[in-house]
């Protein structure tokens, strides 16, 4: 899951980034409003964590612009301001959720999962296809009820494919989802991880649409 983190405070941003990476997110971190605008234009993110008090362009402006341009990426607003007026202003500007500093890492992750679930229209966290079930809370996958061991990247790839089941995901889309900026993407990595997943869940589980990409489920 590729996620954009917008936070101007170096120490806090570093902490959030570390926490989100541990949870399997590919995190792009920008430190001001203008950079956030540029990042949102350049990439497609599954989620955005947005601080409101930002240098150069404040968070509410970034959010309003996003929504005005039809960008529906789920946004979780992080802020130190906790008055009712502030919350109303944030939600009215197009935020999907609101978290006041200081917050728990667990709560942040739970809220992000809820946002992704809502975005995909599902009512519970679990993603399943055939006999494969992925539980994002426990970060675990099972095949026919039996747990399957997955590496971080394998888990992230499976999560992406199951989140977009019945759709074709191109190689570059999968690469973007798996890697944040600055992370080295080796050639054929997606193929390598697809290969690993097929070994664990069966060859028929992920189908190759030649020249287009990969899919789970029916197309």
């Amino acid at each position: 899951m590729r996620l954009l983190l917008v936070e101007d405070d170096a120490l806090l941003g570093d902490g959030i980034q570390a926490g989100l990476k541990m949870a399997g997110f590919a995190v792009d971190w920008v430190r001001d409003g203008v950079a956030a605008d540029l990042a949102l234009k350049a990439e497609r993110y599954a989620l955005c964590v947005l601080d409101l008090g930002l240098p150069r362009r404040d968070g509410l402006t970034v959010l309003k612009r996003m929504r005005a341009q039809g960008d529906n990426t789920p946004v979780l607003v992080l802020t130190a301001r906790d008055t009712r007026e502030d919350k109303v202003a944030g939600l009215d500007a197009g935020a999907d959720d609101y978290l006041t500093k200081p917050f728990d890492l667990d709560e942040l992750l739970a809220r992000l999962r809820a946002l992704m679930r809502r975005a995909s229209g599902a009512s519970n966290n679990q993603l399943s296809q055939g006999g494969v079930v992925l539980d994002p809370v426990a970060r675990r996958a099972t095949l026919d009820g039996k747990p399957v061991n997955l590496s971080g990247r394998e888990y992230a790839l499976l999560h992406d494919l199951l989140s977009h089941r019945n759709a074709i995901r191109s190689r570059s889309e999968l690469e973007q989802s798996l890697y944040a900026w600055g992370e080295e993407v080796e050639s054929n990595t997606v193929e390598v991880y697809i290969h690993h997943l097929r070994k664990k869940f069966g060859t028929a589980f992920i189908r190759t649409q030649r020249g287009i990409g990969y899919t789970v489920g029916d197309v």
Binding site: D9, L11, G15, A80
Partner: protein, 459 residues
């Protein structure tokens, strides 16, 4: 409490009653005077009639010499006109014999004085006319009770005053109503202000307001505006303070949680190192807040001692050198005037200058030049810090000294209190903190000690 309404009602009522009393008194006085004239005329007429009557009686030989004829005048009874006067008269001949008298006339000596006079008979005041008949050389005395004049005067004054007496309550009521009506805008204003809650600070509408109340409302609106502005800035301060206090806490919490949850040794030690950084930062923030609180509380408790300016600047340079070096910045000291006398609290000024140098290091380019200087300006001695950074947008300069406020375009881990502290220290020294963008260089922060001359004189 003095009431405008009561005062108006009282003065208007008193003025009204006073004016009308005066009118009534003048009416009485004039009526009495006219009545006197009229009644004197009647006395004269009575003399003429008596004279004519006596003349007639003498012709008829009815009046014998040496005898006195007493006439009974019907002074009471039905058919009397209310203003018909009780009349008394006596007539003497030249020899002093009383010829004729009315039965109600008191027998008195023949009067020596002619003309009108006031007299008193048996304790009752009378008005008297004594006249000499030319023809018969008779002395005729006519009199009537003087109180009738007074009665007529009172009667006339009463006729004038009575309608007034009835009209007065009505008039007073009208006065009351009009005063109340005139003061109604104040009552409306009172109701409007009373109905407001503490956060309803919008301006009072001035449409259709009377001219006398308008200045009051204008003044109130100006005050409301000021209150609103101060509440806004107070809220801004709270919001900024919340940001400055909660952000480091959030960072501490998340790094601690990452450290607790992760399995990789490298990542855990990074998280713990970050926790320590966060604690250092929180410590600095707390120290800055306490320093500012102490400065706020200890107003006027500044030691004003003669300072060695160069030594002070050198000390700041020594203390900040290591921070400047981490960013490859060069920190130099320049003192333009050899002999510069400056009085102040060395410890506080050291803290202020360190804050300024700290800002200069933080917000200017790595590898840049930072100058710590002192000079004599027309306004007074001046200590300044000049950096080679990008400066600050002009519209933000004024707001920089507000607590917890930082420039819009900066990313930094400062407390947002540094310049507020410097400004406070400057103020305690009677100095001003001036921030301006220097052409060709960066930001110049100067403390100008304008009131040094007065301060140093007694020392």
């Amino acid at each position: 409490m003095t009431s405008l309404r009561n005062r108006l009602l009282l003065t208007l009522s008193l003025a009204l009653i006073g004016a009308w009393s005066l009118v009534a008194w003048i009416s009485y006085d004039r009526a009495r005077h006219e009545a006197e004239e009229l009644l004197d005329g009647q006395l004269a007429l009575a003399v003429r009639l008596i004279e004519a009557q006596i003349h007639h009686e003498q012709e008829q030989q009815n009046l014998a010499a040496g005898s006195t004829l007493t006439e009974t005048l019907e002074n009471e009874g039905v058919g009397r006109h209310p203003y018909e006067q009780v009349l008394a008269f006596q007539v003497w001949d030249r020899a002093g014999n009383l010829l004729l008298r009315s039965d109600n006339a008191a027998v008195i000596e023949m009067p020596q004085q002619l003309g009108y006079s006031d007299t008193s008979l048996a304790g009752v005041p009378w008005r008297m006319l004594v006249s000499v008949s030319q023809q018969d050389a008779l002395l005729i005395q006519v009199a009537h009770p003087a109180h009738s004049r007074h009665d007529i005067g009172l009667e006339v004054a009463g006729q004038v005053a009575l309608p007034m007496l009835f009209a007065l309550p009505v008039l007073l009521l009208l006065v009351y109503w009009s005063v109340r009506g005139a003061l109604n805008p104040l009552a409306v204003l009172t109701r409007e202000m009373r109905a407001r809650s503490a956060d309803q600070l919008e301006a009072v509408p001035t449409v259709g307001v009377v001219a006398e109340v308008r200045p009051l409302i204008d003044a109130m609106n100006r005050l409301l505006e000021k209150v609103q502005a101060s509440i806004r800035s107070e809220r801004q301060l709270t919001a900024n303070a919340a940001h400055e206090l909660r952000t480091p806490l959030a960072a501490l919490k998340i790094h601690a949680q990452v450290a607790a949850a992760c399995n990789e040794q490298e990542q855990r030690s990074h998280a713990i190192a970050q926790v320590l950084r966060g604690i250092v930062r929180a410590e600095r923030l707390v120290n800055q807040m306490l320093r500012l609180a102490r400065l706020d509380a200890g107003q006027g408790e500044v030691r004003m001692e003669p300072l060695d300016v160069l030594a002070l600047l050198r000390e700041v340079q020594d203390m900040q050198q290591s921070i400047a070096q981490t960013r490859d910045q060069h920190l130099s000291v320049t003192v333009a005037t050899a002999e510069m006398s400056l009085f102040g609290d060395a410890e506080l000024l050291l803290a202020a200058l360190r804050n300024l140098v700290d800002n200069a290091c933080r917000y200017s380019h790595p590898g840049g030049e930072i100058i710590l200087g002192a000079e004599q300006t027309p306004a007074g001695p001046c200590l300044y810090v000049l950096d080679g950074g990008p400066g600050v947008a002009e519209d933000e300069l004024a707001g920089l000294t507000q607590r917890f406020r930082r420039g819009k375009d900066v990313t930094s881990e400062g407390s947002g209190l540094g310049l507020a502290i410097v400004e406070r220290i400057a103020a305690l020294h009677g100095a001003r903190l001036l921030l301006r963008n220097e052409a060709g260089a960066g930001l110049r922060a100067s403390m100008v000690f304008a009131r040094q001359a007065e301060r140093s004189a007694p020392a």
